[in-house]
């Protein structure tokens, strides 16, 4: 497994972990409005810490590969995955806004949370697609 693929795995797992943590806080998020920001800030901080630690560990284990810039296949894989993720983000955002407005009598907090959820789903798709493409070319 290449360094980039391992990095993609790390990011995917970090997103899933942090998302699970965020969703766990959702019931409280919609009580007083400041909870939304607090949960978001904690999740973001946790994501950065997990990514940083994992990146350092990977870099120590694969120093040569970590220093090498991305080659053309790796760039192509990232672009292909990003294209799929962009479609997912646009579709999920519209769906999230529609559902929030028409079925959940959308407040600003709910609207923000639903668009954020769409972004998280798109990122999960992005990194999953990268891993699938890396596996196909392995």
């Amino acid at each position: 497994m290449s360094f980039r693929e391992k990095s993609a795995w790390v990011t995917l797992v970090a997103i899933l972990l942090v998302s699970a943590m965020y969703v766990f806080h959702v019931p409280r998020v919609f009580a007083p409005s400041h909870w939304a920001l607090a949960a978001l800030a904690v999740s973001l901080a946790a994501f950065i810490v997990i990514e940083l630690v994992a990146w350092l560990v990977l870099r120590l284990r694969h120093p040569a590969e970590a220093r090498t810039p991305k080659d053309e296949l790796e760039k192509l894989i990232e672009l292909k995955a990003l294209r799929i993720a962009t479609y997912v983000y646009v579709a999920a955002s519209f769906l999230a806004v529609f559902i929030t407005l028409h079925h959940l009598h959308g407040s600003a907090t709910m609207m923000g949370a639903s668009v954020l959820l769409a972004f998280i789903v798109a990122e999960i798709v992005n990194y999953t697609a990268r891993i699938v493409y890396y596996r196909r070319h392995a």
Partner: protein
Amino acid sequence: MTKIVIANHIRRLRFEHREMTQQELAEKIGVSRQTVNAIETGKYWPSLEVAFRIAEVFGRRVDEVFEYSRGGRK
């Protein structure tokens, strides 16, 4: 539509060059070992730039490393 097939002789050429490993070839042409493997097994067709670099490493012309042919219908 006719399917295009691009075969290559990288594996044979590596062995003819003192059993050069994929990692050594990757370092010489500036890509990852996984990319060399993908090119060698026909899972990925490289850019012209990489194709020329591979040919240069083996001291061959590009058409001696890569072979273009029209296969069956898609």
